[in-house]
């Protein structure tokens, strides 16, 4: 593991809590700081589960394996501690929280990152929020709307990236942010993510997607393919291009159990 590694997953086995169902069956993945890695794979292969386990979702149980984030044992931390340590998940299916405004929620989230006794400067926060809404081409009225309540599919996805842009994570996990976005919105969101990466070149991205289209805008350094709870292939951007052309049939030619290292 190099010094710059931000995330290192080794032999991660995960099952559904309170059930026997195994979902991740030995995931290995190393993400150097500042890089963008894409994770692709058929429906139900475990991509979202991986993202949620990294975020600390209580519905899953880690049976074996280790996850080291920024030199710390990630699995030891509560979801909020992981967030404060710099992990952010843009959810595939963001939850609706009626009655809680985006501004109020983000203010509380920002406040929670400060040390005890320190108060968030509300003017600074307001400026940051406005700036980020501007970056993502969002109407300011969104700030007062309840989180995801009554949002369209695309608006929910954009709202995820707004939160990410405000909270500035060290590691952004993006779970199918592209699904549900129209072409223009996809460009806006991609531009937002790329702006964040310019602002902080050490920020890393783990980007889950089914489509090459997203990867045209956010260029991956490495593409991983997950099948049935394992990473079965890792390679350069051309892996995504081939997948787009040939579908997952291409994997059957190779031995799915052989993990192709870069």
């Amino acid at each position: 593991m190099s010094d710059t590694t931000i995330l290192s997953i080794e032999n991660l086995h995960v099952k559904v809590a309170d059930e026997g169902l195994a979902i991740l069956k030995g995931v290995d993945l190393t993400l150097p700081g500042g890089e963008v890695h894409a994770v692709m794979g058929p429906n139900g292969s475990g991509k979202s589960t991986l993202a949620k386990v990294l975020t600390g979702h209580p519905g899953y149980e880690v049976v074996a394996g280790t996850v080291v984030f920024d030199g710390r044992d990630l699995l030891e931390l509560e979801p909020n501690e992981r967030a404060c340590a710099g992990i952010f998940l843009a959810f595939q299916y963001p939850v609706e929280i009626p009655g809680v405004s985006i501004a109020n929620f983000l203010r509380t989230a920002m406040q929670s990152r400060l040390v005890e006794g320190e108060e968030l400067d509300l003017f600074d926060f307001q400026d940051l929020l406005l700036d980020r809404m501007n970056l993502l081409d969002m109407d300011v009225s969104f700030a007062e709307r309840p989180v995801n309540d009554g949002f369209s599919g695309g608006e929910k996805k954009r709202n995820e990236i707004l939160q990410m842009a405000v909270l500035k994570p060290r590691l952004a996990l993006m779970d199918e942010t592209d699904s549900g976005l129209d072409i223009d919105a996809l460009k806006v969101v991609a531009h937002g993510v790329n702006t964040l990466r310019c602002e902080d070149p050490t920020m890393s991205v783990l980007l889950i997607t089914h489509y090459q289209r997203m990867l045209d805008y956010i260029r991956p350094d490495v593409v991983h393919v997950m099948v049935d709870g394992r990473i079965v292939r890792s390679g350069g951007p051309d892996v995504a291009v081939r997948l787009e052309e040939e579908g997952y049939a291409m994997l059957r030619e190779a031995d799915a159990r052989t993990v192709v290292q870069m």
Binding site: T55, G56, H57, P58, G59, E78, P79, N80, R82, A83, C84, F88, L89, F91, P94, V95, I97, P98, G99, V100, N104, F105, L106, T108, A109, M110, S112, R113, P146, Q163, L167
Partner: protein, 454 residues
């Protein structure tokens, strides 16, 4: 606070004042004759009415024989505080100080009005905001017509009769025809005498095409002895009048808090009403909106949030007498620890009240394994061309929502707090009354912070 009380109470006075015929006679002695007669009549009704037992549907979940021991209570004996904020408890002062834009203020301490203030421009136009005790001599015609007659007469029930015979003071707000108050009238109540029974009445008369907003806030420290606060609230919204009524109850533990509220709405009258129950050990609210004129429109909102062993019993009824009137009730509550809530709501549509729109919703959020909520909605419909619905839910905090918020950095407690405030706060979005919404949100947040979920 307790020390202040002790200073004010003369020791020999403490013994007297049990809630008996003697107290009623003493109160009647200070009344004008018409009022004294009514007080004694209320006493007769009280004596002839049995205490409601849990055998009665309406009292099934609140056992008065256990929760209210009238024998142990005495009528208040402390002397009234002076009309000087410097002499008032700090919490009362600071609550008052928040309300700058009110058009009038009234302060009651231990059931007696100690301060009244109404803009001269309003009194010159005939607006009346005064102590009910003074009004008995200064506005007898108004009181004779409206006080404990058409809205909450003693015949209504045992506790209503008790109030009618023992009330000591209260609020009169009268707004003449066509006069529109642009900002709320603020009433603040402070209770300090422990072991006492406080009886007060509120009479609000909004004459035709007038507009008023009334915000009533009750608070106290905790009581070490059972203490009763009983209120009878009578609201008359005449034809075309617009009334906004808000009550927020943050009385200390140990209190049994009873409010009987009846609102009579005339033709095209509008009512926006919010009851916020946060305090007391036991809260019982009997709310009745009577839609007497066609085109009347009422929004009945309620919020409660319990912890410890608090008990809330909301008993509501929407009576559609006239056709083409609308009523929409939404009560929401969150319950923590071993607190408990009962909501019993009925929509009654009288024969001939066609084109009625009546809705009733009660939603509860249970925050602990020991908390409990029961909802008993009911429809009694005697007309055929109506739109009515009722719904009730009892649910728990959604784990996915909490995880979502925690994944942004909020602690579990912060996430719970946000979800609860959001859940309750949605009721406030239906109340078009600026300032009050922020204030109520703040007091809910304050209670959440003080509670176990801090």
């Amino acid at each position: 606070m307790v020390e202040v009380v002790a200073d004010r109470v003369a020791p020999e006075q403490k013994k007297s004042g049990a809630l008996d015929r003697g107290v009623v006679e003493r109160l009647a002695g200070d009344d004008p004759e018409w009022l004294a007669t009514r007080r004694m009549q209320a006493l007769r009704i009280y004596e002839a009415t049995p205490m409601p037992s849990t055998q009665l549907e309406e009292w099934r979940y609140t056992d008065l024989s256990r929760k209210l021991c009238l024998d142990k209570l005495h009528s208040p004996v402390a002397e009234a505080l002076p009309d000087d904020p410097q002499a008032w408890p700090e919490r009362l002062r600071s609550t008052m100080a928040e309300d700058h834009d009110a058009v009038g203020h009234l302060v009651l301490v231990d059931g007696s009005v100690v301060h009244t203030n109404i803009g001269a421009h309003l009194s010159s136009r005939g607006v009346v905001l005064t102590s009910l005790r003074r009004a008995a001599t200064e506005h007898p015609t108004l009181l004779e017509k409206y006080l404990a007659t058409q809205a909450i007469p003693p015949e209504d029930g045992k506790l209503q009769a008790l109030n009618a015979m023992l009330w000591t003071d209260g609020v009169l707000l009268y707004v003449p025809p066509g006069v529109r108050l642009e900002h709320p009238v603020r009433v603040t109540r402070w209770y300090s005498e422990t072991g006492a029974a406080f009886f007060s009445r509120t009479l609000i008369v909004a004459d035709s095409a007038s507009k008023l907003a009334y915000v009533d806030e009750a608070l106290s420290d905790d009581f070490d002895q059972e203490t009763l606060t009983s209120q009878a609230v009578e609201v008359f919204a005449s034809d075309g009048a617009h009334v906004q009524y808000v009550s927020a109850q943050r009385i200390g533990r140990g209190a049994f808090c009873h409010a009987a509220q009846r609102i009579l709405l005339g033709r095209d009258a509008t009512l926006d009403m919010l009851n916020v129950s946060l305090g007391a050990s036991t809260t019982r609210v009997d709310l009745n909106a009577r839609l007497l004129g066609s085109g009347a429109d009422s929004n009945l909102l309620g919020l409660y949030f319990g912890d410890g062993d608090q008990h809330f019993d909301h008993n509501t009824s929407q009576d559609h007498i006239a056709p083409a009137a609308r009523s929409d009730l939404l009560y929401k509550g969150a319950l923590d620890d071993s607190s408990r809530a009962v909501f019993r709501g009925v929509i009654r549509v009288a024969e001939g009240a066609q084109q009625t729109d009546a809705y009733q919703t009660n939603r509860n959020l249970i925050l602990s394994d020991n908390a409990r909520a029961d909802a008993l909605p009911k429809l009694e419909i005697h007309a055929d061309d109506v739109k009515c619905s009722h719904g009730a839910t009892v649910g728990q905090l959604d784990e996915e929502s909490l995880f979502y918020l925690m994944s942004r950095g909020l602690t579990r407690a912060q996430a719970e707090r946000l979800v609860v405030v959001g859940f309750l706060g949605m009721v406030l979005q239906r109340l078009p009354l600026g300032g009050v919404v922020e204030k109520v949100t703040r007091v809910i947040e304050e209670k959440l912070r003080l509670g176990a979920h801090a």
